[in-house]
């Protein structure tokens, strides 16, 4: 596989019904084209194996700059497809050797893809993240205990106990708030998926990530969903962040093809 320097492989972006319009550029700056079969269109780009094939891509993935660039370019193509209609995003770094393999896949799983597209029609993914205070922060905010003791050790223990009780109260309040919020959002969406709390980095000052949810929302019902996000003023140290619209990355489930 170490053939000509300009050898290419096929990078897949999305499966949809409509081919790209105008000019869309992909991860390698290449023009994105459609591979069409069975009424479906796969957004594909011919990318140099020297950068995007093995083993180069494996190495490149370790570079945050490279990965960020690839992720943004991939996302831009997926969004171009979303602008045309229902779209199944394909996971980053899905490579094929030739058009025939892609056509075969589209043909073999046409009904599955079609069903998945049907589920995504007229719907948009939104993200909701909730942050609570850092545990240490909550502890610092604990009210000073009114109890005093002549023994410094006892006084210290009393303060510690008060801080622990206060921390538990805050955690409970935040957790209950998040549970109610998630229930409301679920009621106003057609599907929901909880992302990991450890995968996303809680950035400096953001606090502890309490909820990292993705919700598939009917476009016509977005106003109600947005109201549900804002319906309840939570505890003071809890912050809610709405992100989107996203292509339906979290809902690109195709039976038998997906692991998500």
């Amino acid at each position: 596989m170490t053939g000509a320097r300009d050898a290419t492989c096929i990078w897949l972006y999305a499966v949809t019904r409509d081919p790209p319009e105008d000019e869309v550029r992909g991860v390698a700056g290449e023009p994105v084209r459609a591979i069409r079969e069975a009424g479906l269109a796969a957004y594909a780009g011919d990318v140099p194996t020297s950068e995007f094939g093995e083993p180069a891509v494996r190495r490149n993935l370790e570079s945050l700059d490279w990965l960020a660039g690839a992720a943004r370019a991939h996302d831009a193509v997926v969004r171009a497809a979303v602008a045309r209609g229902a779209t199944i995003p394909v996971r980053l770094v899905t490579l094929f050797s030739d058009d025939g393999s892609v056509r075969e896949l589209l043909r073999d799983r046409a009904s599955d893809f079609e069903a998945a597209l049907g589920r995504l029609d007229g719907r948009t993914e939104w993200g909701v993240k909730v942050y609570g205070a850092e545990p240490e922060q909550a502890e610092e905010q604990a009210p000073a205990s009114g109890e005093t003791a002549s023994n410094p050790g006892t006084s210290y223990l009393l303060r510690r106990r008060a801080a622990r009780i206060e921390r538990e109260r805050r955690v409970r309040a935040a957790t209950e708030h998040v549970d109610r919020l998630h229930a409301r959002l679920t009621a106003h969406s057609v599907a929901e998926r909880l992302h990991g709390l450890g995968g996303a980095v809680a950035r400096e000052g953001e606090g502890t990530l309490l909820l990292n949810g993705a919700y598939l929302v009917e476009n016509k019902r977005f106003a109600e969903f947005n109201d549900a996000v804002n319906a309840e003023r939570g505890p003071g140290d809890v912050r809610v962040q709405l992100t989107g619209p996203w292509p339906p990355y979290s809902f690109a489930y195709v039976p038998g093809l997906s692991d998500v």
């Binding site: 955690v171 995968g199 980095v201 950035r203 400096e204 619209p245």
Partner: protein, 97 residues
């Protein structure tokens, strides 16, 4: 898509990066052609690496397998943490009591 939603102001205190991550949808219900959006990178990576349909490419060297992606994601998260001089994010759902 003509009825595509557009977000209103989140209730929570506006933060630069959260606002940037909320993309306006044009009048025709389309995403901007060349958005100068600065998507929160971690949110994006969460989705493109852990979301999307998993198709097995026919290249034997196709690496769209979850394991490698997870390895890469850990590296990325570590890199992001290092870049922003952060400690690792907690893995627990709620702060430890």
């Amino acid at each position: 898509m003509s009825d595509s939603p557009s977000p209103s102001e989140p209730r929570s205190e506006p933060r630069p990066d959260s606002r940037d991550a909320v993309l306006p949808v044009g009048a025709a219900g389309r995403y901007p052609e060349r958005p100068e959006r600065r998507l929160a990178l971690v949110d994006l990576l969460d989705r493109v690496l852990a979301g999307g349909v998993v198709l097995r490419g026919d290249l034997s060297l196709c690496i769209a397998d979850v394991e490698l992606v997870r390895v890469s994601l850990s590296a990325v998260v570590a890199s992001v943490s290092a870049l922003t001089d952060l400690a690792d994010a907690p893995d627990t759902e709620v702060p430890p009591t």
